[in-house]
Amino acid sequence: MKLILLLWQREGISIIRNTFQIIMLSTVFLLGMYAIYYGHSKITEQQKTIKNVEQIEKEEFEHYKKSFYRDHTSVKEKQLFDIASKPAYAWYRHGYHAILNPHSLAHMSLGQRDIEPYYYKLTGMSLYYQLFQIELANPLKLYAGNFDLSFVLIYLFPLLIIAFTYGLYAEEKENGMLPLLRLQTIGLRKILLIRMAFYYVLIVGLGILLSSIGFLVSSELDVLSIFLWISAILCYLSFWFALMFLLISLKKNSSLTAISAASLWLLFLIVLPAILNVYANLVYSIDNTSLAEITRRKGLENEDDVNESKAVIFEYLQNRNDLKGADSLIEINIMAKAYAAFTALNDNHHRKEVSDYFDQIRLRQKRISAFRWANPAVNTQGILNEIVETDSEIFQSFYQSIESFHKDITSFYFDKLFLNKEITSKDYETLPKFNLKIDSQDRNQKIRNGFIEIMVATFLLFGLSWILFNKTTF
């Protein structure tokens, strides 16, 4: 213990005396603070939009509800009441919102939240006319990526580890201190590990400090997510320390150790993921051009032809056994029914195509993530995104939930429309509601596997370095 304190004191003094190292630590800390600020401002902006969207929806439905208790003498009042009570007007006018609320820690790892839309306005109109929208974003900014805390921890912290540890052995040799150290009764490996432990505490401590600031600015504290986040950081940074232990154990000169470390950083953070992305594009290329066509606003070929309208309605009702008796009621609101039926049939017709498209995306993502184990940086980014629910899978679940929400919306209006029923004020108590369905088990499994993979890699590297250190000579 005395030895540990002595060596740590020496390292502490050397850091204080080294202006360059102090500047490096302060810069990373300040960049971390900016990253928290940036992430927080981005999520706050999204929350504002969500509130605005929710308010619009609330006000719209409040208007409809109130119209039941008003005189309908003026044209405007009558129109509003018709939209509120008649499914023939309401099905394509009533606007609902499906929202993917940000997780309380989303600001720490923004993931795909800047690329994927996080809210949708839905009516009973064709789902696919409404589903494939994009959010406003500057493409150059998307290309540059988010400067959030996960970026600082995943990209910059390994550089800190490299900068502080690459010379721990080689510099002693180059400065002529090694023969003196060899004279001591304590083994060189032990001295090295104690010194590395000092930097481990310092850098991991800085990571936890920044993360804690990130936790504090969040709206609510989710203990499990905090625990998982810190565990992920510990695993990832431990991996880099183990990797540096391995490089140091090879006992090369400080320049070669630094070059090797920088090359490994480049390999994990840039080259491997970049190659994998290109590989994914080549092998699992996704054709979205065929999907474009289904977003078209379509209508009946001859909407003035009553027989054509009836044929469309009958075709729709054939698939709706629950709407018994509706076929005898088609003379009323025939145009509205024909359009509703046409829209539903059109969506049914394209469902497989859309599902195939999403399957292609899922398959590609599954195949790419199969390589996650080989790259702790990508693995950690994936884990962090999964913890704070900003990963691409959550958006897949969001799309799927939207599909079922749209089904609820159309059922709500179409059932009344085809059975010639009006919407009553009581019906407003049972309006369709959006529910996000997530496969939590699958997500937890992924996070667990990610942890295991990084930990196994870390222990393997550490074990190998432990053996190598005493076997190699400088």
Binding site: I134, N138, L140, Y143, S254, A292, Q365, D391
Partner: protein, 476 residues
């Protein structure tokens, strides 16, 4: 002096050729460059086939849509797909982050859909391997690895003193070393860009780029300038450093700060300084202006009343039924024109914000040459924001022409109040020619990249200034 420079350069090259680790690094770079170009070529081909097939299908759909009212046809509309430019095989640029298709219909100028990045998952944010990425980030790293100890080693072994005592100036040694490393860079660059030009010429038959040769030449010049400046800077750092370790650390920090940290921070800072509205708020503002007018005199009701009055007066009739053309068509077109005006106004404000955001990054090019070369490379490969914007503008004009043609036909050939009675056919659909896109001439792009050109030129100029003068031998 010339002879000395060549001698030193030759000696340097021989020394490098003996280092196995450098041979491995050099091979890795060449393999990555080859793989990136191959992958880029395959991706280009795949995308080209997809886009051409889809475009043909949509064209056939438009022509074979049958007889219908022109306004229904205007709503049926058509699609335009963004073609990949041939040089995207070299630099993907923003292609992954811009939409790939757009639905063109009446009343609603839709946004581009399907950003390819949406289909990749989390890993896409780590970037894609393109030949441009290899030249912008990986090759400079190779330069650092081969140059950082070029002077420090001479100092440590004492050969620098020996050389100077024999009358060789620091300037000659410096130039000899820079020449040697520049030859290595040229050895990579010349065959690579020649290959790119050949691929470009072979594939150029149906390309959307018309000035391939000039663009490849400009790309070559930009990269040569950038890599030469980087080589010079690395040698200069080695000259100024007291040890190889210090030189390596300084260069690695420079590479990381200017290649990774500054580009990301400046883009994020740009967004913080000039935040964008959400799509919802943006569209709401547009819809509000369309309905209520951009000024109190331009509400929809007032505009339509004025239009009606003007037409009745112009034709000297009392009612719309007496007009020799269908007023509904005129009304539709007026609505379109006003919608276009509102969209143009809001789009211009939005694009201004994009420009301001990007300018923050461009300005940082003076500190980080990577930013300047990255932006210029995208621009010359026609995968930058301005090229996308040009494509967007041309699709917009095409949409406006299509809708105008439908409305004019409706006004000329149908009667007021008779919607279902009139149907147009293939003859009208054929008057709308197929959408063909050509990128603007590269000279048109220059005006947007003054800052990048200035910063890169400044870096090159500074490097010339940094070359030690022949009278100074004080570095040893």
């Amino acid at each position: 002096m010339k002879r000395q420079v060549f001698l030193i350069s030759g000696k340097e090259l021989k020394g490098l050729a003996r280092q196995n680790s450098l041979k491995i690094l050099f091979t890795i770079i060449m393999v990555l460059l080859g793989f990136a170009l191959y992958a880029g070529h395959i991706a280009y081909k795949q995308q080209k086939i997809m886009v051409e097939t889809a475009q043909k299908e949509r064209r056939a759909e438009w022509l074979d849509q049958g007889d219908k009212h022109p306004h229904i046809a205007a709503h049926y509309g058509t699609y335009v797909f963004k073609p990949k430019t041939l040089l995207s095989l070299f630099d993907f640029g923003l292609d992954t982050y811009t939409g790939t298709s757009v639905y063109l219909e009446a009343h609603y100028p839709h946004e581009f859909m399907f950003r390819p990045a949406q289909g990749y998952g989390n890993m896409i944010r780590f970037g894609e391997l393109s030949a441009a990425l290899v030249l912008q980030l990986l090759l400079p790293l190779l330069i650092i690895f081969i140059t950082f100890q070029t002077f420090t080693k001479e100092k440590e072994t004492g050969t620098l003193k020996l050389l100077v005592s024999q009358g060789v100036s620091i300037r000659s040694i410096y130039l000899g070393k820079v020449l040697a490393y520049s030859i290595i860079v040229f050895t990579i660059m010349v065959p690579f860009f020649t290959g790119l030009y050949i691929v470009g010429t072979i594939e150029n038959t149906s390309s959307v780029i018309t000035d391939m040769g000039v663009r490849v030449l400009l790309l070559f010049l930009v990269y040569i300038g950038y890599l030469w400046a980087f080589t010079n800077f690395s040698v200069w750092i080695s000259l100024k450093s007291s040890s190889a370790r210090n030189a390596l650390l300084t260069l690695l920090i420079f590479w990381i700060v200017t290649g990774i940290i500054i580009p990301k921070t400046s883009a994020n800072l740009g967004e913080t300084l000039y935040p964008l509205p959400s799509m919802k708020i943006y569209k709401e503002a547009i819809q509000n202006d369309i309905a209520n007018g951009m000024n109190p005199n331009e509400t929809k009701e007032k505009r339509m009343a004025r239009l009606k009055e003007d037409y009745l007066q112009q034709y000297g009739v009392d009612s719309l039924n007496q007009l020799p053309l269908n007023f509904e068509g005129i009304q539709m077109q007026e609505g379109e024109e006003y919608t276009n005006k509102v969209y143009d106004f809001h789009d211009a404000a939005l694009y201004k914000k994009f420009e301001l955001q990007n300018r923050a990054g461009s300005l940082m090019g003076f500190v980080a040459p990577y930013i300047a070369v990255r932006n210029l490379s995208m621009a010359f490969a026609a995968t930058d924001w301005y090229s996308f914007n040009d494509f967007q503008e041309k699709t917009n004009n095409y949409r406006r022409h299509l809708i105008r043609s439908m409305n004019n036909d409706m006004a000329k050939n149908s009667r007021y109040g008779e919607f279902y009675e009139y149907k147009a056919g293939r003859n009208l659909w054929e008057t709308i020619s197929d959408f063909k896109y050509l990128t603007p001439k590269v000279t048109m792009i220059f005006k947007y990249y003054g800052m990048e050109l200035a910063s890169l030129s400044l870096w090159v100029l500074i490097m010339f200034i940094l070359i030690p003068s022949s009278s100074k031998n004080k570095f040893i």
